[in-house]
């Protein structure tokens, strides 16, 4: 196989030859090894080798995109012609662009390893530990993957970035069983750089197995109430990500329907809340180094002490809406910790629901949401009492972010985020 730089150069030439004024491409080659567990047994070993080329062309102020996974010249030439055909069919748009040249960069992220015996041993150890320490837990499905990817980004403005990365992922789906009693399934995913420690110790995995067994004794919440929910890190990232997408994301801003479209630099959340995008943080495993637009990634704050500092926009959305491009297109998030421990927060609660997973309809554009609190627990009189069955929560995400009671000092790292527990008020629990 040719070097990716040579392939990327050929792609740009093909696009120019087909009629592009400006062109950009991302060329990648990856290999992954994966072990699967089904119903508590190792079932399948996979080897996946794949290529990808995504290309963008601008011709006469109009943009087209095409992607393929073949590196031969005939396939590249055909895709380049298709990309130009797409541009020809498009409408003129002043906001279309390729990345400006600022600086070129090369990155090596993660350490390469091909030791499948050790990988297998770590998975076996994980299975044995679950059987011994959490006998009521059934691992419904587990995927563990080691992957290596080499990526080149190049454009006709002189941009050339190279990223070589390697790392592991563990994704688990599990539930607990006792006779005919069964709990809701729960899931967890963690990224990690090497096999130096047991997989059971990743992030919240042990805590979630422990919780799962306790969920066998779940009971109804009792009377409906409007009040506090304590959101665990396993749900917090999704919650904030949804709010940012709805209120400040590229799609809704371009559509003119984003609730925070006029609120840059203004208070949009409780002043205790600081949300940062941190792909370069040392606690993140294999975080983004090159943005989707072809720039070198940087960490940045989206919300600082409750004030909206950045919309998190793509370059197209930024140009379309008269804002600035986000320094990163990563989803690796950190929420700044508070000043109380989780135990102190729980001890101060009269009644609340600890929400560990949420299964609900997609929130409305204005932030109204409702759904089922899964794998969740009732907190009463300063103690976690019991798991709850079939409990619905509803509220409004925008109001919720302005109704933060406390944020824990404790945070959880899963290789893709660093998140605390957050206590919100004003939620209907039924």
């Amino acid at each position: 196989m040719k070097d990716l730089k040579e392939i990327a150069s050929y792609v740009l030439e093909a696009l120019k030859k087909a009629g592009a004024d400006d062109a950009q491409c991302t060329v990648a080659h990856g290999k992954a090894k994966e072990l699967n567990i089904d119903g508590g047994e190792i079932s399948l070993m996979r080897t996946v080798i794949d290529n990808s080329i995504s290309m963008k062309a601008i011709k006469d102020g109009k943009k087209g995109n095409a992607s393929i996974n073949q590196f031969d010249e005939a396939s590249i030439d055909a895709a380049a012609r298709e990309c130009i055909e797409a541009a020809d069919a498009a409408v003129v748009d002043d906001a279309v662009c390729i990345a400006d040249f600022t600086r070129n960069a090369e990155f090596d992220v993660g350490s390469k390893s091909g030791d499948m015996d050790l990988f297998f041993d770590r998975i076996t150890e994980f299975l044995d530990t679950v059987r011994a320490d959490y006998p009521k837990v059934i691992l419904e499905q587990v995927f563990s993957e080691y992957s290596e990817t080499d990526t080149a980004v190049m454009n006709t403005n002189g941009v050339y970035h190279r990223l070589r990365e390697a790392g592991y992922t563990l994704s688990t789906m599990f539930s607990s069983h006792e006779g005919e009693k069964a709990t809701s399934f729960n899931g967890y995913e963690a990224q990690f750089g090497d096999l130096s420690r047991p997989l059971i110790d990743l992030g919240m995995q042990r805590a979630l197995f422990d919780q799962s067994q306790k969920e066998l004794d779940a009971s109804p919440i009792g009377e409906k109430f409007t009040g506090k929910i304590l959101v665990a890190p396993t749900y917090l990232g999704e919650l904030i990500d949804t709010a940012l997408y709805k209120f400040a994301g590229s799609t809704e801003l371009i559509n003119g329907t984003a609730a925070w479209k006029d609120k840059l630099g203004q208070k949009v959340a409780d002043e205790k809340l600081t949300v940062s995008i941190i792909p370069l943080d040392e606690r993140i495993c294999g975080g983004e180094r090159i943005t989707d637009d072809g720039y070198v990634s940087e960490n940045f704050d989206m919300i600082e002490n409750g004030v909206l500092k950045d919309f998190g926009l793509s370059e197209y959305a930024a140009r379309k809406t008269g804002n600035k491009r986000a320094p990163s297109t990563s989803s690796c998030m950190a929420v700044a910790p508070g000043d109380k421990t989780l135990d102190e927060i729980i001890k101060g609660i009269d009644r609340a629901l600890l929400v560990c997973r949420f299964s609900g309809g997609e929130p409305a554009v204005n932030g109204d949401f409702s759904g089922v609190a899964k794998n969740s627990f009732l907190i009463e009189n300063g103690e976690i009492k019991h798991a709850v069955t079939e409990t619905m929560i509803s509220g409004n995400l925008e109001k919720m972010l302005n109704n933060v009671v406390a944020i824990s000092k404790d945070t959880v790292e899963d290789g893709a985020s660093v998140l605390p527990y957050v206590l919100f008020d004003g939620i209907t629990v039924s």
């Binding site: 089904d38 996979r46 080897t47 943009k63 073949q70 797409a86 069919a89 297998f120 069983h177 309809g361």
Partner: protein
Amino acid sequence: MLNDYISDLIQSGAEHTELRAQQTETVKVALIGGNLVANQSGKAGGVCARVCKNGSWGFASCADYDEDSVKDVLREAKENAAFLDGKLKKGKPALPQTKPFFTAPPAPSPVLPRKVYVDFATELDAYIEKTYPRLSGRKIIVTSEKFEKLLCASNGTKAHTVAPRVYVYVFLSADTKDGDTLELFDVLNGGSGYFPDYFTDPLLYAEKIEKLYRKLIDKTEGVFPEAGVADVILAPSLAGMLAHEAVGHTVEADLVLGGSVAGHMLGKQVASPLVSMVDFAHTAFGSPCPLPVFVDDEGTECEDEILIKDGILVGYMNNLESAKHFGMTPRGNARAFAFNDEPLIRMRNTAVLPGTDKLDDMIASIDDGYYLISTGNGQADTTGEFMFGVTMGYEIKNGKLGKALRDTTISGVAFEMLKTVTMLSDEPEWDSSGYCGKKQPMPVGLGGPAVKCKVTIGGQ
């Protein structure tokens, strides 16, 4: 079309083996607020092999597709199976051999200029902008996919299939008098086939857009439902989601082995005797299913799988391995999405069978409840608990439709909720515009009639 580099390399014998070459082609055109934000095509293909050795599976895939790469992935898949077999020593007997399935070579697919998709979307968008000035936002999304597979399996199957599907989605937004922005979407049309099979003149869809707009305006004046258990009529799109999420996933045999509640319920009454449910392969109610599947990716010919008959759970959906475990017949539910995906147990076209009631009579039978019309998403649990997002609905007061509803969520426990079913309409409908998610995405059809039942509904 895919060349055949695989059939000479497949051998019948004790080790179950599959070789699959695949090419997936996609087109996506999206307009948001009149801006062409997506105008892209994709082609991804390659070859994969999967081998079972004494109960341990090995899989390998690569993007190159020629004689050498086929040999490479077959060797790698065998090595992966041998690696696990050496470690695990499961010693399981060979899998059952299903009868081979053959297809004739597919007809060449039409190639459509990109301009056709872009022009349709921009003309539709311009019509909506001009006709409905009250709207605060609009999105048009056109998607086209084509899955071409060449499959050879050790049971002798040799099948070359092409499965295209195409859809146009329209999202409209309007503000309430309090300034809240609400959105409603609908699938304009689509299903199995190519773009010109469904879409020529955007103005042919004016009536459908008008209905969507009217519902959205109703929604801007809508109310939140009262949280709690309620009598409801689920429109066919929600009944289809019920069939798929609430029941379908719990009776996928891999999830049964993982501890699904259905593991304890085979042969038991799990629903009202009015309820029957089938995972159809390719033909239902005398017509082709929305996404027909004739052979699965293990090489098994597809047949209908009856899941619930007259309220009794009678079947699971299986692959070869789970069918052997449960002593059931495999009926072609092992499906893979991309060339680098292994087959998993998946639904095809899952539906609640229709009853004999009329929708108007069903609504008239409720004094205080809700008529729930549209859903955006749904999730299931292996306990049978389910939830659907409800994006459009109306109150029912004294047998008549009342105020529209704001976005909400319904939930329940499938095998309890299905026992509350008291009426089923006589007109089933299908939806096939979404994906099912389970490690890999998968196009599926879901259908059913209107259903009268009790569910938990979220409020404020």
